[in-house]
Symmetry: C2
Subunit: 108 residues, 2 copies
DNA sequence: TATCTAATTAGAATTTTCTCTAAATACAAT
DNA sequence: ATTGTATTTAGAGAAAATTCTAATTAGATA
């Protein structure tokens, strides 16, 4: 959904590797899982995180589930990183609310 | 050091917000901490993660510690993301070792 | 219907991450 | 030397993430 989910999803090496696999095109859950030394249940957990982060999309066919990269999210990420390394004072809003409510009135 | 530390560091909203603050230039640990509703010890923990990920550098002056953005890591990240959304079959090596040792000899 | 295959969900165990309090370090100023 | 300020380190508790086994869902096939 937001950046939080996306960054969280990308923080796990298994999930990043799944994304790299999907660069070559869509794959079934089972075929992806064959590349890892983990149970299907665990793989399913990771697919869910990636779906939640909009990094992959899922389509069902027969009794298979296929996953595919959603590259549009990468576009947004690239923009964020370019903003981070770019000129100062460019407006930026991450949607995070980790700043206190200016309790001392100093206005920051 | 590697991508793993970098992505892990970026997965926390407090740490991303610290980076955004540092876009305006270097700041002391205390000044950064003033933007958050957390103890100095906790802030120090986050600084350590960011240093570990090479996302910030530290310089000591008098009894202050100043932190500064290291934008070169963002360059690498942008490259990674552009590779992810780009043409297939481009060589990619993330340094992760999450793939099993091809125990069945199928070779993938 | 019964059974097989593909994949997910549920629940528990383990590990990791985040945050705090208390104590320690380092430098500055009295 | 003592006190004060800025920051980190140590250790512990709470919360979140990762992984497993067992059970479940859903469709395909005999």
């Amino acid at each position: 959904m937001g950046f939080q989910e996306t960054f969280k999803a990308l923080s796990d090496p298994v999930r990043r590797e799944i994304l790299v696999l999907l660069r070559d095109g869509r794959m079934s859950a089972g075929d992806i899982g064959a590349h890892f030394d983990m149970t299907g249940a665990t793989m399913s957990y990771h697919f869910k995180q990636l779906k939640n982060a909009d990094l992959i999309t899922e389509t069902k066919e027969k009794n298979f589930v296929y996953y595919e990269l959603n590259t549009s999210v990468f576009d947004e990420l690239v923009m964020w990183f370019e903003m981070m390394r770019g000129k100062k004072n460019e407006k930026i809003d991450m949607g995070d609310s980790t700043v206190p409510a200016d309790g001392d009135g100093s206005g920051g």
